[in-house]
């Protein structure tokens, strides 16, 4: 298997095969990250395509010292947050998210026991509409991509303390939404707090 730094260097010199290998190795992460931020498959697909087109255009300027994935993540989040903001500005264009048809059905565990991944996804998309773009982006990078607060701060170009605040607010808002709409999926000790209303 070809060394990744070499692959990136080849792609930066315009080698299309090398670049396509990079795309194939990153497209799932880019797509699903965008999907969790924007909340629908069409926009996520557009964003993923734009991310790689932009990457192809700017890759010749890439300096090997910087972390490639952090760079890619920043491009992804910038495009996804912009798309989400545009969606929010047009509420009529953002109906309640349908159940994504493409998610593999995988039984969950813990509070989600009995729910398959599709249902968990639908609950998240419904409740995440209450979050600001930054709160949602932080939550997605933390809980779904497993990044730490420093990595999130770098991806979103904000301070770690802002990451902490957004994450805390996002969890509070989602927890309140769960309490209001899906109390059965909250841990027993979290139930009974906060009101919510429909998303």
């Amino acid at each position: 298997m070809i060394d990744e730094a070499r692959l990136i260097a080849q792609a930066a010199r315009g080698d299309r095969d090398a670049f396509e290998q990079l795309v194939r190795s990153r497209q799932q992460r880019v797509y699903w990250t965008a999907y969790q931020v924007v909340g629908n498959e069409d926009d996520a697909r557009d964003i993923a395509q734009q991310v790689f087109i932009r990457l192809w255009r700017v890759l010749p300027r890439y300096r090997g010292g910087r972390r490639f994935d952090a760079w890619l993540r920043r491009i992804t989040m910038n495009l996804a947050i912009d798309a989400y903001r545009r969606r929010q500005a047009r509420p009529d264009a953002a109906p309640l998210p349908p159940r994504p048809s493409s998610l593999p059905s995988v039984a969950g565990t813990g509070p989600a026991e009995g729910l398959d991944r599709r249902e968990v996804q639908a609950i998240f998309l419904r409740l995440a509409r209450r979050l600001s773009p930054q709160q949602r982006a932080v939550f997605v990078l933390k809980e779904m991509n497993g990044l730490d607060s420093d990595e999130i701060a770098a991806a979103l170009e904000i301070t770690p303390s802002t990451v902490r605040n957004h994450l805390h607010q996002a969890r509070k808002i989602l927890r309140r939404g769960l309490a209001a709409l899906y109390p059965e999926y909250l841990p027993a000790r979290s139930r009974g707090g906060g009101a919510g209303g429909d998303a």
Partner: protein
């Protein structure tokens, strides 16, 4: 929210990310045991296990890969080959300098000082025979004078000859586009 919350929140996140030292952990335990508002905030901000199944990568939906790669290939076709950085070729640069020096010497020596450019003989003759002053003409003059401005001028000439007896030439000189 209490004044102690920002520090508590920092330490809670550090603990969650497994980068909290023993001193911080001890302080956090003690503080949460005694500060009700921070304890309540901490409970509200705990990770939500419900969404854990959404973590990680999954296969792309049908058609997404083809869409991504298709758009990418179109963009790649449009990508311009980066222009080569210009570097002077020593031989070409020397030749250019020599040519420029030769032209300067030639001009200084007056080699290029030839006779004034002359209009063709027929035009010079017609010009000499044109009735003066030139602005007095038939009805056409009044029409073209209407468009005279601070930057434009109309010169009208009438030459004997031609099918109708006279050949009329009207020149409109617009200095606003003077190069």
């Amino acid at each position: 929210m209490t004044p102690c919350w920002p520090r508590t929140a920092d330490l809670l996140l550090a603990r969650e990310e497994r980068r909290l030292g023993p001193d911080g952990a001890a302080w956090l335990e003690r503080h949460l045991a005694t500060c009700g508002p921070c304890r309540q905030e901490a409970a509200q901000g705990e990770p939500l296990a419900l969404f854990a199944p959404l973590a990680g990568e999954r296969p792309l939906p049908a058609g997404a890969e083809a869409f991504i790669l298709g758009g990418l290939r179109v963009a790649q076709e449009e990508r311009q080959v980066p222009a080569r950085r210009w570097r002077p070729e020593p031989l070409a640069a020397a030749a250019s300098l020599a040519a420029a020096a030769l032209v300067l010497l030639w001009a200084a020596a007056g080699v290029w000082t030839g006779p004034e450019p002359q209009a063709p003989a027929a035009l010079q003759r017609a010009w000499a025979e044109a009735p003066l002053p030139p602005h007095v003409m038939n009805n056409a003059v009044a029409t073209v004078e209407d468009i005279r401005s601070s930057t434009a001028e109309v010169l009208a000439f009438s030459f004997p000859g031609g099918a109708s007896g006279n050949t009329e030439v009207i020149l409109i000189v617009d200095r606003s586009i003077d190069l």
